[in-house]
Symmetry: C2
Subunit: 157 residues, 2 copies
Amino acid sequence: MTKVEYNLDQVDYKILRLMQDNGRINNADIARELGMAPSAILERVKKLEQKDVILKYSAKINPAAVDQKLLSFIFIKANDIIGEQRVGLALAEIPEVQEVHDIAGDDGYLIKVRTADSTGLVDLMRNTLSKVEGIISTRTTIVLQTVKEDQQVVIPE
Amino acid sequence: MTKVEYNLDQVDYKILRLMQDNGRINNADIARELGMAPSAILERVKKLEQKDVILKYSAKINPAAVDQKLLSFIFIKANDIIGEQRVGLALAEIPEVQEVHDIAGDDGYLIKVRTADSTGLVDLMRNTLSKVEGIISTRTTIVLQTVKEDQQVVIPE
DNA sequence: GTTAATTAAGAATAATATTCTGCTGTTAAG
DNA sequence: CTTAACAGCAGAATATTATTCTTAATTAAC
């Protein structure tokens, strides 16, 4: 376990807020917003990337536009040895699986899955999930409608 | 309900793949990658934004770097009238709540919440959740460890 | 064939990114 | 107190991109 010190200041937080809100904002605009030189901003952004404060930049794509209209959560009970998460890693490799969380209390995982429709979900479970060894049982929850969905994190101060 | 036609072709998919993977890739690079002129790419990207195929660009920030180390899912049973989702909208306004899904079967919601720690979670439930009218009961699931977490969608072809 | 609508290329200009240099304030050692 | 090391920023210079506009090619409709 590597203990990490992030040591972010007010200016870093402002940069993070701007970039979380608009991942394609340019240096010049950030600089203008904060009243600093673009070169100084660039230096900070690079440091933030280096320190893994900024993990990734991504365009958020409308799932419906690429025919992935159904969202589901599946609880998976597994016979993983504690701390090993062989099943979790196998689940993470399935492209339709967006999230895999190791949850407390059930020797299990909660995964988030996107498929075209219920047929796609059934296919995924029959053809892919069923091939993952160590799964004891599953319980599926279908999402009817999503009210909010983002990765925006609360930034201090 | 507005029926939308997206009509994306192979080139659009390639652009989406690149931008989903790297939200800060520039036009020139996309153009080079696809062997097309930057102006043509720009035109397509703007169209993709306009058609809401690309919903947003965002920097993904390491939650630990901003002291949000605990992730939880909470099932919320509500007395919302079907289709009204007053409770859902209220939940969506809480900054620590990243996702609100209306789920089948339980007149309920599944929400995803990030707090600093278990104390922060308790505070949130006591101070904020408890003030949302229409909540009948909650069931909280704590995430011990996240194996995978992204919004990457499967892009066809 | 003609026309209209798309789509892309290419050229020109505006704007940004990036690198480098030097200045300044801070800190810690002596 | 003095000095050395360092971090952070500004400003200037250059390399790269973004953006706009014009023109050409393709296709579909008539």
